[in-house]
């Protein structure tokens, strides 16, 4: 074998092989870097899964709810959560896997004439998987009558988290409420984001008088206590508006104040990026304002904005629940967690039915998870930062 052939063979393939692995292994996209930094945050990862679960519940509310959330049961007002058992013991076949709940027995206090529910060991309602129970329309257009779990008998009831003042199933209402409460947080922040990016962007990019004016407006909004302002706007909504109109109006009201924080972040980012070399280069190349902002500046801080937006969601959810709790936010045919907690507003109801506070537990879990997720994202958003 002579030298030329050897050289040819060597030049043939290794050249390509030497280059390709370098370019694919050595380079990670910005997204990959951020994702790796984020995965290192264990609390943020757990929160992410919790939130995925909650949003999935909200998305499939119709299928997951065992009862019609609006179904009134006069016989079962303030019924406590039922005892749930996986196995049943019978004389004939010993222990068997037969999930069931216990029925209620009503005891009447002879003095106060108050009804109290106790668990009746004799009555058992068998919990079925995918039973045909109540009819509804999935996402408003697919008719379904089978649900994840339920009881089939005509007189059987399934109240795993108890019932409220009108005997409505709290678990089903909680599941339906998740949809409104969780989506209003997203919608409100989405709207705030649009306002914040546009206004903050204008403020930071153009500077001068416009910037000064916008900053004063933001300062003004932030120096006023938000709750009375929200209350004022919410109270002015016409009473005869439909549930949907009401929902959008509340979202709008919440984001009217919520955009300020996002606008501040966007502005400060714009100010720091404006003097970067690549922005000057784009400007000298004759790129228009819109193109510079959209193609050169926005990608540089979009991850940061997403993190800030995530941290703004809990505030929105808190505001919505507080307003609804006070009776000024969403109104009763709509079910949100705040509306549910309104039922627990007085001590009498609380003393009789402490399970009415369960929606509060979910509010706390959601807000904690959002905060952890946002914190993790904020730390991960800057993968070139010093802390990695």
């Amino acid at each position: 074998m002579d030298k030329t052939q050897e050289a040819l063979a060597a030049a043939d393939e290794p050249v390509f092989e030497a280059h390709t692995p370098l370019t694919t292994q050595g380079t990670e996209t910005q997204f990959q870097l951020i994702w790796r930094a984020f995965k290192a945050h264990r609390l943020a990862m757990v929160s992410l899964w919790v939130l995925i679960f909650l949003y999935a519940v909200a998305a499939f509310a119709e299928f997951l709810a065992p009862n019609d959330p609006l179904d009134v049961n006069a016989r079962y007002t303030y019924a406590p959560p039922q005892e749930f058992r996986w196995f049943e013991h019978t004389e004939e076949d010993g222990w068997a896997f037969r999930p069931h709940v216990l029925g209620y027995d009503v005891e009447v206090d002879p003095v106060a004439l108050r009804r109290t529910f106790v668990m009746d060991e004799e009555t058992k309602y068998y919990v079925k998987f995918l039973p045909e129970t109540w009819e509804t329309k999935m996402w408003g257009f697919i008719p379904i009558s089978r649900h994840l779990i339920g009881v089939e008998g005509r007189r059987d009831v399934l109240f795993l988290m108890g019932t409220d003042r009108l005997g409505r199933d709290l678990l089903s209402r909680l599941i339906y409420g998740a949809r409104i409460t969780l989506s209003i947080g997203l919608a409100g922040v989405g709207l705030s984001l649009v306002l914040g990016v546009i206004i903050g962007g204008i403020s930071g990019y153009y500077g001068g008088i416009v910037d000064n004016l916008i900053q004063r407006v933001i300062e003004f909004i932030r120096s006023i206590p938000p709750i009375p302002l929200w209350m004022g706007f919410a109270a002015a909504l016409p009473r005869d508006w439909s549930a949907l109109q009401n929902y959008f109006a509340i979202t709008l009201i919440l984001s009217l104040i919520g955009w300020t924080e996002l606008a501040r972040v966007v502005r400060s980012r714009f100010l720091s990026l404006k003097s970067e070399d690549y922005v000057s280069a784009a400007k000298l190349d004759g790129a228009g304002d819109f193109r510079i902002i959209w193609r050169h500046m926005l990608p540089a801080f979009s991850s940061h904005i997403i993190a800030t937006a995530t941290l703004a969601i809990p505030g929105m959810i808190l505001a919505e629940t507080s307003l609804s709790f006070l009776g000024l936010g969403l109104q009763t045919p709509i079910i949100s967690w705040g509306v549910l907690l309104q039922e627990a507003q007085n001590l009498r109801a609380l003393a009789d039915a402490p399970w009415l506070l369960i929606p509060g537990v979910f509010i706390v879990i959601t807000i904690l998870a959002m905060n952890f997720l946002g914190d993790g994202m904020r730390d991960a958003a800057d993968p070139y930062g010093s802390n990695h």
Binding site: R216, F220, R222, S223, I224, P225, P226, I227, P228, L229, M231, G232, F233, A234, A235, A236, P238, P314, L318, T321, S322, F325, L326, G327, L328, L341, A344, Q345, L347, L350, A351, P354, L357, G360, I363, V364, I367, L368, N371
Partner: protein
Amino acid sequence: MLRFIANRMFAMVIMTLVLSFVCFFIIQLPPGDVMTAYAAQLAAAGDSSSADTIARMRAAYGLDEPFLTQYFIWLKSLLSGNLGYSFTLQRPVSEIVSSRIGISLAVELLAIVVLWGIAIPVGIYSAVRRYSVGDMFATVFGFIGIAVPNFLLALLIMYIIYLYTGTAVDGLFSAEYVQARWSLAKLWDFFTHVWIPVIVIATGGAAQIIRILRANLLDELNKPYVVTARAKGMSERRLIMRYPVRVAMIPLVATVGWVLPTVISSSIVTAIVLNLPTLSPILLRSLLTQDMYLAGALILFMGLLTLIGTLVSDLLLAWIDPRIRTGMTDG
């Protein structure tokens, strides 16, 4: 300094004007006007002579004028101390406000004092003894403060007290003192009741301030001047309180501006849940009945309170920190 004060005062006047405009906008928001609701109320009560009265009152309030004219009429009457008339409570707004304002301010001021009283020592402690058991408790407390809505905290405390003592938390005074004149006994009674709302209101703000103070202090603790002082044999307590804490406090003073809106916001919700005799339940009721002059005046008043508070804190800050009054930083 004088120039700075003049600047801030001017901004304050402008902000107050904008605030009053926003409040008037809210007053005008509901469909119809204030008289529509009142007329309906009179008609429902079977008052047949109302049409004439209504027409006279419409003229008096200038309700048929354009929006801006109405606004100036309202502003003029505000400046002369006439806050309007509450149609549901049948009393002038100024009378309602003045009967409850003292308690409102007392609860809010107490809450601010407690908020700083908790936040500063806890913040310092958890930074100095980082990752200790106490720090972990502070962190958990911080998360509770952030994640538990005020109304839920108030409900929970109310429920727990009911469970263990069987008594209902309600208002700020025991039944026998509600109508009584102020005395030592009544003051004592007030303090035995007021701690619940004060703690509820203070929690959220305290949690945030602990976080800020801890982070600021941690940044300072490793700076060379601290190491130097320590190397020279200064006692640890004196060292920390004298240098890093003072530096870490500066950004904290600037937060006074948002502490006030937070405290007022949370005091509203808390006061409504706990049924306190403050302005907040009146605000809620006036909004629910669309008694807009009363509601507008209350919102204006609460906004004004925070504007004044922010002004005072700005002036204090400028007095402490010369960099701010000379415009070297944006504070």
